[in-house]
Symmetry: C2
Subunit: 239 residues, 2 copies
């Protein structure tokens, strides 16, 4: 059941049986959320962190004028709010974009891992660091890429991340979001989001139907995106 978590953490360094057992003991209490529901509320002080088992979620902030911005997308095997363990107060919300099955990690147990399992602690820390690396990549995309390139980059990133947790199907993956939601990822209006998607479609590198993205030309998609996966730390080495 924690397959995705093991795949996710295990791609950066090897996970011992003992560590897998510790994680098995850490994660407890499954929950389900419907699409559109808040998994974690902004301003709350959760006593546990949440791991996604199935589904797609996103972190977001809402501004006074009602504008919403997603700051990340979370896939199976991702902790949506591991940092809340130390940050304490949520300064943003986490919403389920599709039906989500999650499982919880008590902060008290996380704390005891930091007291007794340094290597596992480093791997969990690493998980939050990759989160940060993805944020930096998003900042670059928002600031200096064309919108088409930004979208291409997002697709590259999602494809690679989903591949790690075995949620791709050949060159396609499920992306259960509306164009309005995607617009809140890229920081665009719905109308313009639609035109950017059309442009990428018309260039023939991707297809998108039934909430499923198919990469038709991976080479060219990476080129449009200037995608370099280094920031995802996909090498297995001692950490």
């Amino acid at each position: 059941m924690l397959e995705s978590l093991f795949l996710n953490l295990g791609q950066h360094d090897s996970l011992s049986d003992e560590e897998q057992a510790l994680l098995g003991n850490l994660m407890a209490g499954e929950r389900s959320f419907a699409a559109g529901q808040d998994i974690v509320a902004s301003g709350s002080r959760p006593a546990y962190s949440t791991l996604i088992l199935d589904g797609l979620a996103a972190r977001y902030k809402v501004l006074a004028d009602g504008g919403r911005q997603f700051t990340s997308l979370q896939v199976p095997g991702d902790f949506v709010d591991l940092y809340a363990f130390l940050l304490k107060t949520m300064d943003h919300g986490v919403i389920a974009l599709s039906p989500c099955r999650v499982i919880l990690a008590d902060h008290s147990k996380l704390r005891s891992i930091t007291e007794r399992a340094p290597h596992l602690t480093r791997l969990l820390w690493l998980d939050t660091l990759i989160d940060g690396a993805i944020h930096r990549e998003w900042i670059v995309a928002m600031g200096r890429r064309s919108k088409v390139s930004h979208l291409a980059h997002l697709f590259c990133e999602l494809f690679v991340r989903l591949q790690v947790v075995k949620r791709t199907n050949d060159m396609s993956f499920h992306l259960p979001v509306s164009q309005a939601e995607l617009a809140d990822v890229l920081g665009l209006s719905v109308v313009h989001m639609n035109r950017v998607i059309s442009a990428l479609r018309n260039s023939g590198v991707i297809a998108w139907a039934n909430h499923t993205v198919t990469i038709l030309d991976w080479q060219k998609l990476q080129q449009i995106a200037e995608f370099d996966p280094t920031y995802l730390s996909m090498t297995r080495e001692p950490r």
Copy 2:
């Protein structure tokens, strides 16, 4: 000499004398960098992390067309690349925006802290988590704020962060960057950056001369920025 680091880490939770001593032992080897020099090169695999003692630095990425985007600004008391300890390979560079004095932390020593000092480990982890929180706020600013609001938000953030490490002077702080460099923070052209600055100046909430920003109306600046410092975790509590 590690005053800024102690102020920075100590604002979130209390730092014991023992922990201060550990940090004193950790940090060794002072270096200086001139404005414009790379402190850490993109693609490198540093064996140590770098703490800023004095000066202003920034993380950045450069795209194929030459466009540059800063992904963060680093002030005294900040680790510029603490995450390299676990991420291993730098996927971006760090540049000195003003003359910088720094001091180093061997990754081997950092590792031993994670083996023997869990509370200090959590505080260092927290430091990287706040980094991430700042990134999320930047993403929101780039995606959904007006450019004037974005700039105002940046000034609010810098003022608060600099205040923590005692680098403000009443309501002013030193900001040794050109407008072209600021443009690479906000993701704008130099020309438009200049117009955004003018707009904020003309609204009477800030003054900016001799590389020094003076906040004339803190209330109103926060209002324009919709600034809520929660994300900076400026509360002292057990972590």
